[in-house]
């Protein structure tokens, strides 16, 4: 069973690499829902999994479905349990943008860039909040990484945010190469169980696939030991303010020349209202379809709609008028005061200059 894994990684050619299916963060399937496959041998399971439509394969599923029934099971179980953190890696968009940026600035002739990932480790998840690139040289038979530089940069970063620790490293490119194993080894010295993040900046599969891996030892104990990279689920987390920043950036991507100025004032409210209006039109179209019978009615959607309509609070018209007026009065008063203050300081200035 364990040797089967070895075959999967090293040969690489025949078997479709199961770890390269897209991680679907929305598919939060609990491990208990995975069909019990204890009685099946691993090789067969592998084949079955590969033939079924690939959707949301996760590390935990792999663990559950390929438990060999022999005494080696305990060994492999403990191995897998101890080498994989709770399978969630949370990435902040800063990290991804930095990686893209350093890829764009890579030296001539370098096909990929690597760097260190910084972040915090929780009991069940790893949060990646920062990164910096490390210069390295890669050729056919050797890899050279500037370790001095990496240590230096880490020290500098530590001064600013002392809570961040090295949690792994990243590399651009689609695949995991043999060199990655060596680099990973180096990083295992720096951090316990480092994670490896790959980001496909060359857009080989038409998408920028972002994946995270943890390494696990495998092989027959006593003889040659290999390293396998098991995938982890990747999630994107944002702080509130980050979310708003990313929203703004998203809006630049639809403009032809990719530039945008920052709007201010009432136009922002207008823009936000326009977006809500768009959403409402989509909903109305859906409702029309359901009414005319084109689309089957869905109860849960209906319930959401009812919630939405009921959210507008029913207040008597008079009360609402009062509230509205008092609010408007407050705002107008404040506007008047601030205008007054501005006039006052302008006057004061002129008097002084007399």
């Amino acid at each position: 069973m364990l040797t089967a894994f070895v075959g999967a990684h090293v040969s690489g050619g025949g078997l479709e690499k199961w770890w390269q299916q897209d991680d679907n963060p929305a598919a939060e399937r609990a491990p208990s829902s995975a069909p019990p496959m204890d009685s099946v041998r691993c090789a067969a399971t592998e084949r079955r999994m590969l033939s079924s439509p690939p959707f949301g394969l996760r590390a935990s599923r792999w663990r559950y479905t390929c438990q060999p029934k022999t005494a080696a099971r305990r060994h492999s179980l403990s191995l897998s349990k101890m080498s994989v953190y709770g399978p969630v890696v949370k990435i902040h968009p800063v990290v991804l943008a930095s990686i893209c940026d350093s890829y764009e600035r890579r030296n001539e002739g370098a096909s990929r860039v690597i760097g260190t990932l910084l972040g915090t480790i929780d009991k069940h998840s790893i949060e990646v909040t920062n990164c910096f690139s490390v210069p390295h040289n890669e050729s056919e038979d050797e890899v050279a990484v500037d370790m001095e530089f990496a240590k230096n940069m880490y020290d500098l970063h530590k001064r600013v945010s002392p809570t961040e620790v090295i949690i792994g490293w990243y590399a651009t490119g689609f695949d995991i190469t043999e060199h990655s194993v060596l680099i990973h080894e180096y990083y295992s010295r720096e951090a316990t169980n480092p994670i490896h993040l790959t980001m496909d900046t060359a857009l080989q599969s038409g998408k920028m696939s972002i994946r995270a891996y943890v390494s696990a030892q495998m092989g027959v104990p006593g003889k040659t030991v290999g390293v396998m990279f098991t995938p982890l689920t990747v999630k994107y987390v944002y702080y509130d303010t980050e979310r708003i920043g990313v929203d703004l950036l998203q809006r630049t991507r639809v403009l032809p020349n990719r530039t945008k100025g920052l709007t201010s004032d009432l136009s922002q409210v207008g823009g936000s209202a326009a977006r809500v209006q768009d959403m409402l039109t989509t909903m109305l179209a859906y409702i029309d379809d359901v009414l005319s019978g084109k689309v089957a009615a869905d109860n849960s959607v209906g319930r959401f709609l009812m919630d939405l309509v009921n959210k507008v609070p029913t207040i008597s018209a008079e009360d609402f008028e009062n509230m509205l007026n008092s609010n408007i009065n407050d705002l107008l008063m404040v506007t008047y005061l601030s205008n007054l203050t501005q006039a006052q300081i302008a006057l004061n200035e002129k008097l002084v200059l007399l």
Binding site: P93, A97, C100, V160, Y239, K260, A273, L324, L331, T341
Partner: protein, 318 residues
């Protein structure tokens, strides 16, 4: 002057946001350095790095050294290592201070095109990114160079609080790769769209802004009182001097009529020391700050009025 166009804004923007989020929760300002290039008539900002906070137990921390090392390391990975400015976070818009002025002056003196980016996290959390770029006007640069902050000096330069800082428009530009990343993120991200901008609550924010405004106005009035006493003292002194000279002259004529030698003309300026004119720079800064607060408040109220009218329209259907 130039507008700011940025090559890899997403990196800069996200880094600044992250820096404040992680380190600046205690209403301390967070600061950092902006790196980039000057291209024709534009200033491109391509990267930034944060400055650690000043803590007491870090007394021997060498800022310059940190900066030098950081820039050297960044140069190794081909990141632009030219200083083009600095950024700072602000609390409700209160950033017009002596410290800011000094820092910006030293930056602008060394690098002509440098700007200071002011990031307002509270306003951003309310729904719209608040990031502004400022430079000192040439007039203000002149004054800072001379260090002449007396009323006469300022009068000569004819500078008002509105001419202290000039705002530089910001344009956001992303490379194609980052665009691809954005599309990907949109696809995979499960965080819901935030609509804080349409939030109706306003009293909290208004209260705090007005509080700060009141403090500033108090400072201002104190300053005005000081200036008034100064000018009153000055005029009183003038009068005294005048009287003294007159008395002297009278005595002299009397003495002449009596045939005695006249008393020597004494140097009046040494007898009456002129009062010290109060420095006007602080007043200018306070006025600028008040102006800023008022602008922010007005912007906020206009947005809220719009929202209130929308709510009215919504209610009208019920």
């Amino acid at each position: 002057w130039p507008d700011l166009k940025d090559g890899t804004w997403s990196v800069v923007l996200l880094k600044i946001i992250k820096h404040y989020q992680e380190e600046g929760q205690g209403s301390e300002v967070v600061q950092g350095v902006l790196l980039g290039l000057v291209v024709e008539d534009r200033l491109e900002i391509t990267n930034c790095f944060p400055f650690p906070q000043h803590t007491e137990d870090d007394a021997d921390f060498d800022e310059v050294q940190y900066q030098m090392e950081m820039m050297r390391s960044l140069r190794h990975v081909n990141i632009d290592h030219l200083h083009v400015g600095w950024y700072q976070s602000t609390y409700y818009g209160s950033f017009v201070s002596r410290a800011l002025l000094d820092s910006q002056f030293s930056y602008q003196h060394a690098i002509e095109e440098s700007v200071v980016l002011i990031y307002d996290p509270i306003k951003t959390a309310q729904g719209s990114l608040s990031l502004k770029a400022y430079r000192l006007t040439p007039k203000l640069m002149e004054i800072c160079k001379e260090k002449d902050f007396t009323p006469e000096g300022l009068k000569k330069a004819n500078i008002g609080f509105e001419h202290m800082f000039e705002e530089v428009p910001i344009l956001i530009k992303n490379s194609h790769l980052i665009n691809a990343l954005m599309w990907d993120l949109e696809d995979k991200s499960t965080v819901a769209d935030k609509h804080e901008l349409l939030n109706l609550s306003s009293s909290n924010h208004l209260e705090k802004s007005l509080q700060l405004l009141m403090d500033r106005v108090d400072d201002m009035s104190q300053d005005i009182v000081k200036y008034n006493t100064y000018s009153r003292n000055q005029s009183k002194q003038q009068q005294q001097k005048h009287q003294y000279v007159q008395r002297r002259q009278q005595e002299n004529t009397q003495r002449q009529s009596r045939g005695e030698p006249p008393l020597p003309e004494e140097d009046t300026s040494k007898m009456f020391k002129p009062p010290q004119p109060p420095p006007r720079m602080d007043t200018l800064l306070i006025a600028g700050q008040i102006n800023n607060y008022c602008q922010n408040v007005k912007e906020f109220t206009s947005q809220n009025l719009g929202k209130l009218f929308m709510a009215e329209a919504l209610q009208g259907h019920n």
